[in-house]
């Protein structure tokens, strides 16, 4: 029987790759008898989906802004490239 600690490693791993048969069986058997790891497994997939959603969304910190100086630099850089092309 695998430990809970080992189970949490496999629960993470299965989010990234298909587990080898022996590991999959080990995790399923452990999950049958361990309510804590069953919850962790469910909650971790909630976390993973939420992170994916968060990172697909625009931005979380809407107060962050480029400084005026950076904006001027950026504009100058872009204008320079445009002028070169012209």
């Amino acid at each position: 029987m695998i430990t809970c600690r080992r189970a949490t490693e496999l629960i993470s791993k299965e989010l990234d790759t298909e587990l080898p048969l022996a590991q999959r069986v080990g995790l399923e058997i452990h999950s049958l008898v361990c309510s804590g790891c069953r919850r962790y497994r469910r909650q971790l997939s909630t976390v993973d989906n939420a992170v994916r959603e968060l990172l697909a969304a625009p931005a979380s910190d809407r107060d962050a802004a480029l400084s005026a100086a950076s904006k001027e630099n950026l504009k100058a850089a872009l204008q320079g490239l445009l002028d070169q092309e012209a």
Partner: protein, 196 residues
């Protein structure tokens, strides 16, 4: 598709004013460093300017710029991780705090009290909490974890791109997830995993 049916024309001279802060926020949320976020925005806008003739007007200007920015962000993250790929992963105390030396939970995970972060009411607050937890991850774990979740590539492709072994990638992702889970359990779902 744009509604007028005519191809949209890009206006690079106005990009900084119209999209600069948006792109900066986008980059900052993913790389976590203001100076790097600024550099990435600059690189993305320069790349966009050079590639602007390939713009077909199928998406908005902002969407198009964001797609270019996304690639620059992923490049930056890959590079940041790759530069330290050969370093040992430092020991992490969190798993030891969560498990006994026999590998059992010290405190079994509880049901999350408000188990539905999708609820409209909580959405923004939940996002903020999640972003805060993400920000608390050690930089290298955060970089790898973010890369895994913005890239469409498989874990295998990512580990080749950043030059770490499959084992090390699995260890880093596991640690990042355990930390995030712990942080959300404490700060959002209101259950202290250490409480009796």
């Amino acid at each position: 598709m744009n509604r007028s049916g005519t191809a949209r024309i890009l206006d690079p001279a106005s990009w900084v004013d119209r999209h600069g802060d948006y792109l900066y926020q986008f980059a900052l949320a993913r790389v976590g460093r203001p100076d790097s976020a600024e550099d990435i925005v600059q690189q993305a806008l320069v790349a966009a300017l050079i590639a602007r003739h390939s713009f077909r007007g199928h998406s908005s200007e902002r969407t198009w710029l964001t797609a270019i920015l996304k690639r620059q962000v992923a490049d930056w993250l890959r590079k940041a991780v790759r530069q330290r790929a050969l370093e040992e992963i430092p020991p992490d105390e969190l798993p030891n705090a969560q498990f006994t030396r026999f590998g059992a939970w010290r405190q079994k995970p509880d049901e999350w009290s408000s188990d539905n972060p999708g609820k409209e009411l909580f959405r923004d607050e939940f996002r903020e909490t999640l972003a805060g937890c993400l920000g608390k991850l050690p930089p290298r774990l955060r970089h790898v974890f973010v890369l895994r979740h913005i890239d469409d590539g498989s874990a295998d492709e990512i580990r080749h791109a950043i030059g770490v072994s499959a084992t090390n990638l699995a260890v880093m992702l596991h640690r990042a997830r355990l930390r995030l889970w712990h942080c959300l359990t404490l700060n959002w779902f209101g259950e202290d995993p250490g409480r009796l």
